[in-house]
């Protein structure tokens, strides 16, 4: 069993765990954590693919390695946006923070305003 | 690589590993936060320091050796700061 195969199994386990956490965990921040775990599993598979493609004097195929770097940055951006949403959702005064002078067509989703 | 240098490396790294174990055990077994912090700083400063010291003869060139020392210094500084912050947080 090679290093790549071992980490491939690790990646599959992480993906399963992460996915389970995202689906089942009720706490939104925990969902985000689980999403990061899921993402790590997927990125690890990139690493495995890269390691398997070791050639030309390189320890790994540089293309998937570069893709992971892009992926990690995108995953961070996603985490930041999701965390901002969660914090906004649960901040104490979230309920009355609506001041939509710019969105004059304020249309409520539930509950009549009229 | 001379065998004396190799022996030095083995010895220093073994000592370093010992301090990591000591720090971990201290963290687990000591009764309260200040004593645990004490154990933690031991591992931080001495464990990593000895590992870096042991690796010095194995790296090529003074620049690489300098980098090892810088790594240790960084760990030292952040360890000290974090310790202080934890002490204050507990208080």
């Amino acid at each position: 069993m090679t290093t790549a195969t071992l980490f491939g199994l690790c990646s599959s386990a992480l993906v399963g765990l992460g996915l389970f956490g995202v689906i089942v965990d009720p706490h939104p921040l925990r969902k985000i954590l689980a999403f990061n775990l899921l993402g790590s599993g997927v990125f690890l598979l990139f690493g495995v693919v890269a390691r398997r493609g070791a050639a030309a004097g390189l320890g790994g195929d540089p293309v998937p390695q570069a893709l992971v770097i892009t992926g990690i940055v995108v995953a961070f951006a996603a985490t930041a946006l999701a965390v901002a949403l969660v914090l906004r959702l649960f901040e104490p005064e979230a309920g009355n923070a609506v001041e939509s002078e710019a969105t004059s067509a304020g249309l409520e989703v539930d509950g009549g305003r009229s | 690589m001379s065998s004396t240098m190799d022996a030095f490396t083995v010895l220093a790294i073994s000592c370093g590993a010992f301090f990591f174990v000591a720090g971990t055990i201290g963290l687990l077994r000591f009764p309260d936060v200040p004593t645990r912090l004490h154990a933690l700083t031991k591992a931080d400063n001495l464990g990593l320091g000895l590992v870096a010291l042991g690796l010095l003869p194995q790296v090529a060139g003074p620049l690489a050796a300098l980098k090892l020392i810088i790594v240790w210094l960084f760990a030292l500084i952040s360890g000290a700061i974090v310790t202080q912050l934890i002490v204050r947080a507990v208080r």
Partner: protein, 498 residues
Amino acid sequence: MSVAAVTATTEGYLLVLAIMWPVAGILVALVVNGRNIERVAYIVLPIGFAIATAVVMAVAQGGQSQIYVVGGWAPPLGVALRADGISAAMMMTTAMVICATGLFARGEFVQPAEGPEARAPYVFWILLFSIWSALNALVLGSDLFNLYVALELLTFAAVPLVCLKGQKETIEAALRYMLFALIGSVLYLLGAVMIYGLYGTLDIGLLSGRVRAEPATWIAAALMTVGLLAKTALFPLHLWLPPAHAGAPAPGSAILSALVVKGSFFLIVRIWFDAMPGHLSFAAAQLLAALGAGAILVGSVLALRQQRLKLMIAYSTIAQLGYLFFIFPLATGFAAGIVWSGLAWTGSWMQLFSHAFAKAAMFMAAGLIAEALGHDRIADLGGIGRKLPITMFAFALSGLSLIGVPPSGGFVAKWLLLIATINEGQWWWAAVIVVGGLLAGGYIFMVLGRLLADPLSPLVIRGAVSRSRELVALSLAVCAVLLGLVPLQPSDFLRIGR
């Protein structure tokens, strides 16, 4: 579309321009004072529209795909952009809906004449440019990872659009949408990396020649498809859509329902028809269509039960998206002797385009109604036709297209799909199409029936509705209808590049 050596075509530079022009708009919009952001839009929108038109002309005149090799690095090492018939048509639809939305939003997202820069207009215009760039990148991309970045760009632009108004409910809807979309794109990425591990390339053109029928390939393709289905809100992964689409401000809802959900659908088609042609099994195609049928029935029934106009329209989107999935069993050509069924192909794309126009028009109309009345309760819309005749005419026209009443685009789409079910010997889907049309008639007439009815209590118009915004909604609705009058020309165009 197997391509031996990928070389750029003469007008290929237009493709990169189509993606990068809105990006330049984003960058400029970020630095200019918020007050000037609409001026930026006045430059970005028309020129972007011109670029889209130029791409359509180039594809139509050349009669073949336009290709651009970015940086001169040909796949598999580099990334290529490719415009075939369907991407050009998607680009045109996108450009039309986005520009119309821009015109419509002018009245809603204006910077105040006095005082400092305001939040909503600043954010809205940047998101609009981003969605345009992302959609162009999605329809032009031919590299699975490049498409992943485009998908994420689309998600990150769509999510803030949902909660632009900042109420708690919309933030909740945005968070739920975000989680669905993130899981979707991660699963897609997982499939993509497997494909790379198997075949050493992510280029769709190269893949079509290399893909082998083996379990690992099917697992990869299944993961990508499931991920994209979550983003397309196909039943039973539709739960996020209604609150998200109904909660956004009207121009946002129009873009989300008309365009954004179609982006991931387009990618599913790319995977099964371009990257892995001939690898879709009959059973898998039936499963996709069955989910589509489920979406049509469940979405329509739920739409019938809604009390609020915007939610009803959002559920209708779920139902109308269901039709698109008939493309898999009907256009793949499973029937003996027919390799390629152009009829269902054309029908499905007609459904996509006509729904885009009709749904954008409908959400705009709903937005205008809510603006005028201060609410959107369907039960209290009695007599609205007398107060807002143009808006309601737009609503009616787009509704007819959704039901599939001739001569609308929706009619041609559903008619072509019906014929295809007979040709392909899959008559069971015909029943769903007919029932779906009847149910759509039900929920549309639930609103239209109140047009001229006497109101229970006198209608109070709270805010004046701008005539020009009504006309924008109407012109989109007219587009949806006119699409039905030119049924033959698009069918050839849509097959360019395959």
